[in-house]
């Protein structure tokens, strides 16, 4: 039952998405580099490393990762 409900919710959500969006020729602003989801990758990577080292949680935007014995 729970699964069916979740599936229904997901379908509704995706159905709702079909009413959103733009035509391909309306993407001028969205195509700007600063609108890319991974814009300023190095800033994000350096910030993530600091927060990973100094806080108890990580990830969300990207993988939570591991990769250093940070102190």
């Amino acid at each position: 039952m729970k699964t069916k409900l979740l599936s229904l919710l997901l379908l509704c959500a995706l159905g709702g998405c079909t009413n959103l969006g733009v035509q391909p020729w309306e993407r001028g602003v969205l195509a700007k580099p600063e609108m890319a989801l991974d814009h300023e990758q190095l800033d994000l990577a350096l910030d993530d490393h600091i927060f990973f080292s100094k806080e108890g949680v990580s990830g969300g935007r990207a993988f939570a990762g591991g990769g250093c014995g940070c102190n």
Partner: protein, 463 residues
Amino acid sequence: MQLSGKGVAAALTVASVQMLSLDAVAQEQLTGQSLSGKSSSGKDADSTGLDWLPDWIAKPLAPWRFDGAILWYREQDRVQAIEGIVQGRYDYSDSLSVTAKMLLDSLSGASATGALPQPTAQTFTRPSGGGEYSVATGQTPLDDTFKDTRLQLSADWSEIISTEKRIHGGVYGSKEFDYASIGVNGGAEWGFNKDNTTLSLSTALGMDVVDPVGAVPVAGAPMAIRRDFSGEDAFLAAFATTRIPGVRRKYTSEMLFGLNQVINRSTLVQLNYGVALSQGYLTDPYKILSVVNEQGLAQEYRYESRPDSRLRHSLFALLKYAMDKGVWEASYRFTLDDWGMQSHTLETRLRRQFGDIWGFKGLYGQLHLRWLHQGETDFYRSFLMEGEALPRYMSADYRLGDLDTYTLGVKLGYRLSGGRELAWRLGWYHQVPRGSQPALPALAGLDLYPVVDAAMLQLNYQW
């Protein structure tokens, strides 16, 4: 176009050679073709000498584009780090690109051990067992011996399979004195609704190897201190009983599900759900806890102990909005794990284009604000009481306790000639650990949860 394993290897080979050489020189060496258009091998100018390779390798679409940054990070009286990073991207065709990244960071300074400050000076044994360090009256115990250099290399490729499907993959490895890490990742994206909606699924596997200075401490063992022993041999024998030879490993598996949606001509949103399972040695070998008596005076110090498994969930929502002369970005992240820690993070970036002013071309400014609140893990303890049964899991690492952090950053950037760009970033990071003040007389008036401030200065350069 299906990308074969041989294709990836060839792409990475070309990429790595070109990253290490001047672009034109690398091109010349690999193709056997000089810049003048004449072939050094005597073949005609159209022959690349790499005819056996697919066109997307032998005849790349555009030259390398590089992003570089150097970050200087300094905490007040604690850690200082300098981190340099260079990332190169090569578009082999309209549909295939390769990215290679190198990161080098150097860390030095002092780090909080987890022990409490005391109304008297304290002496601790260094992790190696080869010396001691003292902490003054009322001061937070910091081990000032941390010094490490880390090198990380990674390579990624991404490919557009069709108008609806994209795939990507990557490998990374990093090494520092007492820690090594390797990993792979990959994923796919499906676009539909005229590419206004994108679903993505990514996965990553990593393995870390911990090889602590002075070997792995026995969880919960008391720190051996020289003054408690009659001679050096007796001390060394006692120290050896607190250590386990060999390295320890940690394995991490992650899945990230994403939904990106274009809302209108200027707005898009991203929703991510991530789950990560880490198993193995998750303890910090350099952290300890104070064991205090009823007065609050430290009687001994015990090495911390964390569970050998951690399952983490994260929800992330991002909104990006394009304005007339800028972009506004706001995000919220919620995390939850089976160590009992929950966190909330709000973050925003506001970018404003100023245009060509004061002699700078394309000048822009950006404001960055971030706030995090995390709750403590189930096994977080700021100290242990003498005589109590030793908990199975325990840590006084403030990073696993109640904590608020605040980040404020500003960035200024502008274009240089030839498509290059320069940017400066200045940041302030403020940590506020929280916890209860125990009613123990010796601890009265001592700052058990000291605030930490850090300054960050970063230089970015694109070429």
